[in-house]
Symmetry: C2
Subunit: 222 residues, 2 copies
DNA sequence: CAGGTTTTCGCCTAACGGTCGAAAACGTGG
DNA sequence: CCACGTTTTCGACCGTTAGGCGAAAACCTG
C-alpha cells in the first residue's frame, strides 16, 4: 500500500516524499503508505494512509498503479506493495508534515527501497493517460487559461506542447468549455486570456482510439 | 493471485475456468490461482499456479491486471487477489485437467466469487491493448494470413474489423512482415492467401499516439 | 500613438483510418 | 478450355484529425 502523489509545482512535475527517520534506509526519501486493514479495500486503505500526510479531499484522482512484489524489495520479511497514483490540482498547496516535501520526479533525491521505480511508473502512467483521456482535469484548477493548461501539460509530459493544438484537441473531444471570463494581462501587456473549464470532473476515456474502431461508433461528437 | 487466461477458440474469445468441487461455491466456475510463496514475486507465483493447469510455456503473454480487495469478495477472512491477464496463441490447444474447460467470455456460466468481474476486466484490457499495441502477436500463431488475423481480432474485439484496414494499420506501424509463403485455397477456390508474421515477439506500444506527441518524434516509420 | 507582448483564430498540409471497388489468382462445372 | 463463383489483394477516394504557421486581436508601456 503505497502512493505516488503527483502535482505540477513551479513548472515541474513533483512527487510527495517523506524523509525516513529510522532504519532501514534512514534519511532516505520514501512514498507515503502503510498496511491494509481487515475491513477496507486497497483504495480505502491508501486514502486512509494518505490522510496522515495531506487532506485527502484535495486529491483529485486516485488509481491503482501496479503491484510491486520482489521478495528483496525491502529488507527482512517480504512485503507486497500495491502502488497507487494520486493527483493534486495545481492551484492548491497542501499542508504537509515537517518530514514531508515535494521533489521533481526527474531529479529525485536518494530514495528508499524501490520507490524510485514506483515514481517513474507513476510518471509514465500519468503521461500516457494525459494523451488519451481527460485526466488533465485532475492536474488543473477549476478554471484556467489555455496558456496555464499548456504549462501543466508540458510539465507533466516533459516536452513542450502547442497551445493551439492542445486547445483544439481537447475542444474537439468535447472536454473543454469556455467560462466566459477572462484574466487581466500581466504587467508586460498582451491580450487578456479567456478562461476555460473541463466539462465534467469525471474520468473519461476519449473514445478508445481511431484505431480499429467499431464501424458504427463514428461521429459521436456533440 | 488469480489469472484470466484468454484464447480465441472456435471464433470466440474464451477464458479458462475450472469447476469447484468443494464449498464455498461448489460447482461454480472459477479462475485458476493460489497463494503467494515467500521467495517469489507475484508474476512468478501466478506462473507457478498456472503450471498446475497448463504448460506455462504455451503462454504467450502475462501481465498484471488489477488488485481486487473488497473485504467481502470471498466468504471468511479477507483475501486480496492480484489478478493477471494471460494469453495463449490460437494455434495451440493446451492439455488441461478434467475439471478445467474453456468458456466464451461473453457467455460465462455461474462463476465463483468476483471472478466474472475479473474476466470482464481481462477482456476489456485485451480489447484496449489490441488497438494501441502489437499485442495481437500474443493471440496469433507464428505465421498467419490476413483473413485469419482478421478473425482473431474480430473475436477478441467483439466486432468485425476490415481486413484491408487491419493490414494497413499494422503494416504502417511496422509490425507486420510477409514471410513469402502462401496457403492453398479452400475447396471453394479463391486466390491463395499470403502468409505474414509479426516482426518481433516483444511487447511494444505503438508509438504512444497521434495525440499531443512530442514535436520531433514524428515519422519514425521504417 | 508607436512598439512590444500575449492570446486567439483561421488556414494549410500531412498522416491516418474507413470504405469501396477493381484486379488477381485460384477452384469448379459445363 | 472457358465461363463463373470465390477469396484475397491492392489501389483509390474521402473525411477526420493533428501539427505548424502566421495574421489578427487585444492588451500594456513609454
Amino acid at each position: 500500500m503505497l502512493a505516488a502523489v503527483l502535482q505540477v509545482r513551479a513548472g515541474s512535475l513533483q512527487v510527495m516524499l517523506w524523509e525516513r527517520a529510522r532504519e532501514p534506509h534512514a534519511h532516505r526519501w520514501s512514498l507515503p503508505g502503510g498496511g491494509l486493514g481487515d475491513d477496507e479495500d486497497v483504495e480505502a486503505s491508501i486514502r486512509r494512509q494518505l490522510a496522515e500526510k495531506v487532506d485527502v479531499r484535495q486529491l483529485s484522482h486516485v488509481e491503482q498503479l501496479a503491484v510491486f512484489s520482489n521478495p528483496s524489495r525491502v529488507p527482512g520479511p517480504r512485503v507486497v506493495a500495491t502502488a497507487f497514483l494520486g493527483l493534486v490540482p495545481s492551484h492548491i498547496d497542501p499542508v504537509v508534515p515537517s518530514d514531508t516535501t515535494w521533489h521533481p520526479v526527474d531529479a529525485l533525491p536518494a530514495t528508499a527501497f524501490d520507490h524510485e521505480a514506483i515514481c517513474r511508473r507513476a510518471r509514465n502512467r500519468l503521461a500516457s493517460k494525459l494523451s488519451y483521456t481527460n485526466l488533465g482535469f485532475a492536474l488543473a484548477p477549476p478554471e484556467f487559461t489555455i496558456s496555464a493548461l499548456r504549462s501543466l501539460y508540458s510539465a507533466a509530459l516533459g516536452y513542450k506542447v502547442s497551445a493551439t493544438n492542445l486547445q483544439r484537441v481537447l475542444a474537439r473531444r468535447g472536454l473543454l468549455e469556455p467560462t466566459g471570463g477572462t484574466v487581466q494581462p500581466g504587467p508586460s501587456g498582451g491580450r487578456p486570456a479567456a478562461l476555460f473549464r473541463f466539462v465534467s470532473g469525471e474520468m473519461r476515456i476519449t473514445d478508445p482510439f481511431a484505431v480499429l474502431r467499431p464501424p458504427s461508433a463514428r461521429s459521436l461528437g456533440s
